[in-house]
Structure formats: C-alpha cells, structure tokens
C-alpha cells in the first residue's frame, strides 16, 4: 500500500471548514476503484463523505407504479433496487476498516428514510461514524448529483471514468464542486501527480489542491506547461520555477518540464498510467465550453488515468 495514512493533512486549517466529498457509485464491479480512491482521499482529509447511488431514471408514466412496488418490496423485507449496491459499498467500507463492524451496525438492520424528493438516506442503527452517509437518489444522474452538491455543499465529486463521456463534461460544466474522474485506478500502483499549469486562475486552485494531495499522500509532483501562442519560453519557465518553489517550500519532491505541441495532446501523451492529473477549470465562457468543450475537459476525456478538475 503506497498511500500513507500517518500524515493527516489538516484541511480544516487551509479551507476553513471540513471538506465534504461526494462519491458517486454505479454498478458494483465498476465502482470499486472509485470507492477505494474516494475513501482514501476522504479518510486522509478527515472529510465527511456521502456515498451516492443514483438509480435508473423512471418514465413519468410509471413513476408512481414503481414507487408503489418499491414500497411493497420494503414492506416484504425484500431489498429495493439500489440498496444492494449501497450494501456492497457498506461491506467494502467495513472490509477496508473505514467503518468498524459491530453487531449493532449490520447493514441488514438498515432503515431507508425519504428525506426529500428523489433522495433517500440509509440510516444504519448504532453506526458509530457520523462522517459517512449512504444515500440513494433516483432520476437523471447530472440533475441528481447537481442537487446533491448544491444542497450539501460538497467540495469534491468523485465519479468513475467508465460509461458515457458526456456525463463527465456535464458534471464539470454544471456541478459546483471539483470533479475527480477515477479512470484506470489500481490500488497497487505508485502514483505521481502530473500538474499542467498556465497563468490562469484555475491553475492557482489546481496548485493548491496538488500541494494538499502531495502532502497527504507523499506523492511526487511533475509540473508541466505547454507554451502557446506568442508566450515566450522564458516566461513559461519562470511560472514553472515559481510553482516548483511552492512545492519545495512544503517539502514536496517536485520537478518541472516544458513540453511542446498542442496543449491537450501533449499532456495526454505525457500522462502515464501512474499519473494523477490535477487541472484547473477552464476560464472560458460557459456557453463556449458547452458547445465546443475546453482543454481540461478534453484532457480528462482522453487521459487513461485519474483526473481531478479543480474549481
């Protein structure tokens, strides 16, 4: 295990309050890496975590019928759809010691509480941890995750890299939190942070986040930049060196590299399987981003490794 839990970075001091993390899970076999990495981040930052399963969108024709059937399943002590995924997540947390298993907090003793429209929370009797919530939402995934982030003010949304790539674009576009796309993550791999930067405000946020991550996990950092347009190479090198100093001040091993070519392709080619790419959100006009995309989005879509887009 390469991640180090002994060093607990006090995010409270930096961010002024406890970090809130939302981990969106889907099918069991695909969500394991997402949940694994998400919980490592949550655990080291001592953040409060919500694990959300978004159930299938139901046609308006049948939504009441489906609701009656699900209620019936609850009454018959049969698991309603989605609960099995949350149960699997709960078992996973216990197996990794994120939750201590006791006789009083077995999942089969759960209560599903309707909290608001489309949101249900699993209340685990006797659960000692008040920092982990298991919730189930039903409906269109972007709308549900957006509502969840807006209501509970999550700082990071963590989601798997599979499925429809349009989902990631919409999440980055519409969700008011940083978005971590967990793609091709392996527990046994030694990761390093790849930090592409430029002069934008988004890069400043990415640098702050990369410092937090690197300190928490003792990860090496490679800072890269792609000179574009009329920008002189000297100017870019100056930015790189200034950023490297920030990491060195925090006793983080950092290196810099100037890469040439188109920004997206160069960074995608430079990123390896063992990279965690941390990027700032594009400062572009939201309308332009929606119709034509943005560089961070293209990088997140093309990279075959975990990518965090900070906001």
């Amino acid at each position: 295990m390469y991640f180090d839990y002994y060093f607990v970075f006090n995010v409270t001091i930096l961010l002024g309050n406890t970090m809130k993390i939302l981990i969106a899970i889907g099918g069991r076999e695909f969500s394991k890496p997402t949940l694994d990495l998400g919980m490592k981040i949550a655990n080291s930052f001592k953040s409060s975590t919500t694990i959300a399963y978004v159930g299938k969108k139901i046609s308006q024709f049948s939504e009441k019928d489906v609701s009656v059937v699900h209620q019936n399943l609850d009454d018959r002590e049969l698991y309603r759809p989605g609960i099995r995924t949350l149960e699997w997540a709960y078992d996973f947390l216990i197996s990794k010691n994120y939750i201590e298993e006791k006789d009083s907090n077995k999942f089969n003793d759960y209560l599903l509480v309707d909290e608001e429209n489309s949101r249900m929370k699993v209340l685990l009797k006797g659960q000692q941890s008040d920092k982990i919530d298991l919730i189930m939402r039903t409906g269109e995934i972007i709308e549900q995750l957006k509502n969840e982030v807006e209501t509970n003010k999550h700082d990071i949304t963590i989601i798997g890299g599979g499925g429809n790539k349009g989902i990631h674009q919409k999440l980055v576009q519409f969700i008011d939190s940083s978005v971590f796309v967990v793609k091709n993550y392996s527990v046994n791999k030694k990761y390093r942070i790849l930090l592409p930067i430029n002069e934008s405000k988004g890069s400043d946020m990415a640098i702050e986040t990369a410092i937090n991550f690197a300190k928490s996990y003792k990860l090496d950092v490679e800072i890269v930049s792609v000179p574009e347009g009329k920008k002189s190479i000297e100017k870019v090198e100056k930015i790189l060196s200034k950023t490297k100093d920030k990491f060195l001040k925090n006793k983080i091993k950092a290196s810099t590299k100037l890469i040439s070519g188109s920004a997206v392709n160069s960074i995608v080619n430079h990123a390896k399987d063992d990279s965690i790419v941390i990027l700032g959100v594009s400062p572009k006009n939201p309308i332009m981003k929606y119709f034509f995309g943005s560089k961070p989005l293209s990088i997140a879509q093309k990279c075959n490794c975990p990518v965090l887009i900070t906001k």
């Binding site: 159930g55 299938k56 139901i58 046609s59 308006q60 024709f61 049948s62 939504e63 009441k64 019928d65 489906v66 609701s67 009656v68 059937v69 699900h70 019936n72 399943l73 009454d75 018959r76 002590e77 049969l78 698991y79 759809p81 989605g82 099995r84 995924t85 269109e140 972007i142 709308e143 957006k146 919409k170 576009q173 519409f174 400062p283 006009n285 939201p286 309308i287 929606y290």
Partner: protein, 469 residues
Amino acid sequence: MNESYKIISSSILFWFSQKKWFVYSIIISIFLLNLTTPVGLTVPAYHSLIILLLVFMLVTFEPIPFPAIALLTLVLQVVLGVAPPNVVASSFMNDAVLFVMGSLMFAIAIVHQGLDIRLAKLIIKIFGRSKRMFLAGLMTISAVLSSFLGEHTVIAIMLPIGLSVIKNIDTQQSDGKNAVLLTLFSIAYGTIIGSIGTPSGGARNVIMINYLQEFSNVHIDYLKWMKHAYPILIIQLIVAYFVLQLTFPSSLNNIKMRGFNKNVGKTDVKKNINHLFSCLIIVGIVSSWFAFNDIYGLGIIALAGALTFMIFGMISWEEINKNTNWGVILLFAATISLGFQINETGASSWLVMKFNELLATLPSNSMNVSWSIMAVLSGLTANFFTSSATVSLIGPMAIELHPTDISFALSSAIASGFSFLTVISSPTAMILYSTGLVSTKMFFRVGILMFCISIIILYLMSQFYWVTL
C-alpha cells in the same frame, strides 16, 4: 469574466441541457405553423396534426412534466383555433378518462391490502409440484389477473413474489442468472400479455371502445372484446412460455418457492377478514364490468371499486392521493381530447387518404397490407411512446381506415399492448427495469422475437378466427 454572468449563463445552459427537447419541439412546431397548409386539410385540422407531433415529441423525451404537456395540449387546441374552449373542455372528460382514474385508484387500493403472500401460497398449492410448473403458474396467474385488473395492479402484487423466490440466487453463475431472468420475465410477459384480454386490462382498450362508439357508432361490450382477444392471449402465453424457456435455459435449482419472509406472511383474523373483503370487492367489480358496463360504463365501475375500499376504511384517501399518478390522468384526458379533435376536424380522414395513396403505389395493394402496416405501426409506436397514449392519438386513424370493420380498430389496440421491445412502453416493463436486474438491451433482445410472433398470431386470428364470430 463577470461572476454573475457566469452563474446566469451556466443556469441557462443547465436548463437548456435538461429541456432541449422542449426547445426543439417548439421550434419544429413554429416552423410547421409557418408553412402553407397542405392541400385537402383545413387550418384547424393542420394545427391539430402539429399539436399531435408536438405531444409525441414531448411525451417521448419527457423534457417537461406530464401535467404541463396536458395543459399545453389543451391551451394550444384553443389558441390555434382547433376547437372552441367549450368543445375542448367537454371532450376532456369521458368514460375512458374516468376509467384511467378509477383503475389507477382501484389498483392502489388492491395493492395496499397485501394479497401477494396469500396469492403466492395459492400458486404454490396449485402449481407447486415442480419449479417449472410454478413458473408457468406465476405466468398464467399474472396473465389472468392482469386481463381483469390491469398491468400496474398485477405487477405490483406479483413482483414481490418473484423477487422473494430468487432473492438468494447467485447471478454471477449463468444458471443462476438465467433462473432470475426466467422468473422475472415469466411474471412480466404474463402481465403484459394478459392486459390485452379484456377491456379493463388496459386503458388503451377502453379508449378504443370509446372511439369506436363515438366515431363509428359500433358498440363492443366486455364479453365481445374477450371473445376476440382471449384466444390470442392464451396462444401468446403458451408461445411466451417456450420462448422464455429456450432463451434462459436453467436448472432452476436455486429457486426457493417459499422464499418469502414467513413473519411477513403470517396472517391473523383481522387480515383474513380484510383479504376476504378485498376479494369480494374485486369479484364484485369484475362481475359488474361484465354485467353492467353498458349501463354504467367501465370508468364509473372502476371508480366504484376505489370508493368501496375507501368507504370501508380499507385505504385512506391520503394513501390513494399520494400514489395516484394524476399527471398521467391529465395527460390521457388531454390526448383523448386531441384525438377527438383530430377526428372532428377531418385530420384523421386526410391522413388515411394519404396513407391509402401511398399504399396504391405499392405493387400489392390489399387490405392485408394496410392491416399489417397499421398493426406494426401501432405496436412499434406503443413501444416507443407507451401504449395508451398511442391508442388515444392514432386510434382515430385506425378506425378511419375501415370504419365498419372493427378488426382494424381492435388490432390496433391489441398490437399496442405488445410492449415487448422497450422498457418505457408499459408500467410492467419499467418496473422490471427498475429492479436493476434486467437491462434495456436484454429486454429488447428477448422482446423482438415475442413482438414478431405476437403480430403473426394477431394476423392469423383476425383472418381466420374473428371472421367466424
């Protein structure tokens, strides 16, 4: 960039991303409104067809809530001059709408009584000799009940039985996975097939009966419908059993026929009396549909069923109010109203005329070809648009094809019940999909064969059996 500009543009974009089909539908409708009215169509008829297209798009993609689509349909009928306000209002409520309302409320009342465990025990008693017999029993009972009480009632009762039977099966093994799918599809196909059997099996049947009465002055009573549809139901059921057994071969070793929780299944005197009363009310309502549908109409009788449950305190109004899909009732009322206007304005006659002109260009133009196109079109539209809404909108055209020959109207309504292809086509399919155990691809893969066979059965029955009635 200004922060408030970013927030506003982001909000507008999010609204657009969620409602884009509403924007597209409105743009297409405005474009069509600005075109010249086609030759042979009056302006109100042309406008009614534009509203029809708009409703098709909005219901298919669901960018706005159903009640909003219903209200938009009513408003547009008046604003675009399709019909005056009083005519729209009077076509908004009829026996078919009362039936939709009554059957939804009646279904909630029945499901609330918790008859499933008792029914499971009965199925085990009759069909419990082998697991394969048990699954055949689940399918048959689902079909018979669904034919009288409607899909949404029966799937809500039968699904917990099915899930209790398969709850501990390991779906990682192919044998176990097939056993799960076989059980779920047996219930679902039984329920879907059953809904064609009687007028009360589905709102689409009642809507078509209503249209036939209004447009062609042809009356079809409960028994007459059954005589036409029940033999199809029985043949389909036998075919479906073998199709499912071949599609999902399984030893069924892991199925537990008594898988339901015994504590939940325990009955006491109060429950027994409650169940007895429920059965009496159900039998009373079904008998009334048989005997008195000519006098009271199917809708009023369905409402009487829900009323009886409420009067005897077996369900509260709050429970019914909470679980009734009022949006669907409003939408059906609005689409039926539009269906009437499509017929009244002559839009359906024009469409049929164009359809016949198109048929005339085909090398073999016969009744069989027009029947086949109409039946397949009804079935396909229902699968991508839901069955009852399909009949309420294209029913007038099916009648107009051959106003004196009920086989066209009946075939259209029955084919609309072949919800085998998509999960949005019926409550049964959507509930099955919502379990997470059946994917849309799986549903289509199995359903395509059943759909084709069902159309062939319907064709053969209409050609060789209905003519003998």
